[in-house]
Symmetry: C2
């Protein structure tokens, strides 16, 4: 990149960080726990989020923001859970930024929520650089996309708080090697927390819900989980 | 995006188009047919390219450029075919541009090649805007990533010359619906050419090689295939 582009990019990121810091304070004041999901297109963010909203909705106050270049398919699909869902349509922009999130939250009573989920645009590169003020950044890696992705897209795996390996029901058909995946994840971020789930079969989903509960409880009591 | 960013982005794209036009002329003068591959991370670009180089190398003069943020894994993997392969490492940049391609080609005798393949960074958003001077832009969609991707990432499917649906051996395990995929592809670009392949089982690969041969022959004779 040219020096001019680098300079402008840095200014944008600085501005984003200011807005993200403001958002983080708003979330803390409201007592809402915010989880963002990032991954390749098709790694299963919407499937995981749909099941999460459906399962949490009866006992928790949950809501979601979902980002896409075009269409409101994900929002429509997710509203079937009964949870409030808003779509952020980015056009040609390859990631969500903190300002988009702030605008999308306009008029929502965050104090009435326990969890807010933010599903980013499917992209393993650009979302890595944008803090959204979230408490927990979750990166998904599906068993069908190759165990080497954390090595090839290191920043997004280095900046996540938790990795969720998805579509584990397809592991055998896809020839997935968990040892290779774990090694690649460690290369991007040693000791990154990893869960393995299949939304389809339900495998590992109890761990996922346990992790969400513990993380939220940890935030409320000031403990990091 | 702010007006300033839009303006800068347009200037970058204009500059890219100038370099791409120059590249296209260089490729035409050298008589090399250039195929670029774009897709999500893990849709199978490197697997398809590896098999393509391996199968073409005995009868054609083939070479490849491969883009990644980090690591030269793909180049190492592809060199096993015996074809010359160069890696373009983009750092945090989410796509290849024409200048990167031009620099990477420095010193290569393009006149000694029949086919040059360019594998882009795995990303369904950013590569869509950058012409690389290629003759044929191929977008891959794996059966595991969801049939709706052409609707959610329309630009990259609208600007491709050919769509290749990959990992067709996993179609049944993944619950893939070809009618839905075809409908989504038509939504992005009506009548887009579509092939269905499995590098693993070999299904559809003859069609792929037939398409490459026909396209190259069409360029040489001035016919569009």
């Amino acid at each position: 990149m040219s020096p001019r582009i680098v300079e402008i990019r840095e200014a944008i990121l600085k501005k984003n960080d200011l807005v993200a810091r403001r958002l983080r304070q708003v979330f803390a004041d409201a007592g809402v726990y915010v989880v963002s999901l990032v991954s390749s297109p098709g790694a299963g963010k919407t499937a995981l989020l749909g099941e999460t909203l459906r399962r949490l909705a009866p006992t928790c106050r949950v809501a979601a923001l979902v980002g896409d270049l075009a269409t409101d398919h994900d929002a429509v699909r997710l509203r079937a859970s009964g949870a409030p869902v808003r779509q952020i349509t980015t056009g040609t922009v390859c990631h969500l930024d903190a300002e988009m999130v702030e605008r999308a939250l306009d008029g929502w009573d965050l104090g009435s929520l326990d969890f807010l989920f933010i599903e980013n645009v499917g992209n393993l590169v650009c979302p890595a650089s944008y803090d959204l003020g979230e408490d927990l950044r979750v990166v998904l890696l599906s068993v069908t996309e190759g165990e080497d992705k954390p090595e090839k897209y290191p920043t997004i795996f280095a900046t996540a708080d938790l990795a969720v390996i998805t579509k584990i029901d397809l592991a055998s058909a896809a020839g997935y090697d968990d040892v290779l995946a774990r090694r690649a994840l460690d290369g991007a971020q040693p000791d990154l927390d990893v869960l393995r789930v299949s939304v389809k079969s339900g495998l590992g989903m109890a761990d996922w819900f346990g992790r969400l509960d513990a993380a939220r409880a940890g935030k409320r009591t000031g403990l990091r989980v």
